[in-house]
Symmetry: C2
Amino acid sequence: MALIAPSRRLRRTPFSDGVEAAGVGGYTVYNHMLLPVFFESIEADYHHLKKHVQVWDVACERQVELRGPDATRLMQTLTPRDLRGMLPGQCLYVPIVDETGGMLNDPVAVKLSEDRYWISIADSDLLLWVKGIANAYRFEVLVDEPDISPLAIQGPKSDELAARVFGEDIRNLRFFRFGIFSFEGQDVVIARSGYSKQGGFEIYVEGSEWGMPIWNALFEAGKDLNVRAGCPNAAERIESGLLSYGNDMTRENTPHECGLGKFCNTQTAIGCIGRDALLRVAKDGPIRQIRPIEIKGRVPACDRAWPIMSKNQKIGQVTSSSWSPDFDCSVAIGMVRMTHWDPGTTLSIETPEGVVEGVVKDRFWHEN
Amino acid sequence: MALIAPSRRLRRTPFSDGVEAAGVGGYTVYNHMLLPVFFESIEADYHHLKKHVQVWDVACERQVELRGPDATRLMQTLTPRDLRGMLPGQCLYVPIVDETGGMLNDPVAVKLSEDRYWISIADSDLLLWVKGIANAYRFEVLVDEPDISPLAIQGPKSDELAARVFGEDIRNLRFFRFGIFSFEGQDVVIARSGYSKQGGFEIYVEGSEWGMPIWNALFEAGKDLNVRAGCPNAAERIESGLLSYGNDMTRENTPHECGLGKFCNTQTAIGCIGRDALLRVAKDGPIRQIRPIEIKGRVPACDRAWPIMSKNQKIGQVTSSSWSPDFDCSVAIGMVRMTHWDPGTTLSIETPEGVVEGVVKDRFWHEN
């Protein structure tokens, strides 16, 4: 691994001082912002995450705020998911597509009220797309990036830690719902969500000045819970089948190829820009799709798409991989043609260090 | 400096194999792509750049291609620079603004023909803005990111090296013009441009498979010129007053604040989205503006905006800085209120390692 060179362009977060004091080992860049990738090591972080509780600086999940009488109309323009039943207080995973049905982002939309949404985005400047659409359609809506920085609490002891800092009521919060809780007299939006399957919350910290006080309060309250600084963990997120925009899917892919067809209501999502383009794939299904792939032994970090070959034909590619300590194999995510996507199919994968064999799994490792 | 963690999301370039073989020391991320920041050291690279010739992997200058009958109309929608006089074969530096006049990018537009442009972008997903606008306005134009990766030749021996590989005619190319040259029978667009003031070219390598052949040909031909792998050099680019989007300017700033008013023809750039918002600042001038700032001694890397204070009031901020070996001081770029922007004004700058004194310069160190 090479060094990362600091500059203002790679934005620090309200929690960076805490992250550095906790001994961050490596960074990636996400939405022009620093995102830790490991502290002790991916493997040590992984075991800790599954047993205890971690606090994650995910400020890089920047928010796009929509506010105004056309906010709901604009939100529906962006996604093929039918939002008519979405209630204030609800979070929804919403694929965002362009006019060709290509994925532009896969954020979580947070509905604060009929005229106000936050879109908690993956790694692309979705703000520019939304602003362009809102402006050209002359929608009556303000679109901006507010000073909101998510901080996640993840791991099996998350409820206990969150309850100590934000009150017992937080235990009753349902999955993908948010509530307004109190921190030192300040209202804070907290959702039961997060980029792992170990349970937990995401705190939408409004106002950078509240970053370190909340960070410190969590560490103070969680001492006996063995709380540590953590971050999205490559091994755990692949086991969990949590896709990564830019890694596992790009503008090249439809939601259906990404296995996100269940989040598309193409028949009824009237107003969605990519709806026409998706009607056919929604009916016929895609010809390639995301699959979990198990590889025996260790493979290098997946820093580029690895071709999956069959008889000199490319029939797919692997886009994420990691060693899985618990499953004693390498876990991977790839896009595979329908001729080869059935569970149990053996795949020939070309890594930069040679060809390895993978097997298509019927489900991700943590799927119910 | 921490490590950078590899993933497909931080895209490799067609030249990455060459960059790694040349011993890259550090990376940044730019348009979701790896950009080297130094090889031997910023200081050693700097001296070499000013004396010899370097080959730079600037594939991260991704292209947004506009193609179709409305290409020129769309291009004018994006920028307050009047493009009516722009000729095919010409490159123009074009500030891109949103509806509030805020900078979204500061790319170079390359006009291939009346119905075809490349926009060679700085670090933001300008593609999403342009696609949003084109789509919502129903312009007849295709907007896409083609497989084009710029490779720069920079330094005083650039003409000699380029002539050896692409033919003697390249010496006659004027600044910010491009021509079509030949490499192994293949047409290649090459412009006299680049992100330094040491002279040179940018090769728009079309087709990733041509990346390493052109890279290797340049190193083969330049052995006796002491050619080396290089990259945009923090010290040289600040001395030269070359601004960096995301560092020195953001969506918060108008072009006029960035000293780019000379590239805005607000009265005549009819159709530009941000024109109305810029009319007043174009007439009255901005109340804060980019300035070169000289600081005695060494300061840390500018990884966040450093406040410039006067009597407990923030009157500006420093956004880029570097030690300058040739000028024996730290060179910096900042945004300063008009009350304090006159040359010779002493500024009190709050770095994370303490307060330092800076002086506003009348011009950048390499300005003519």
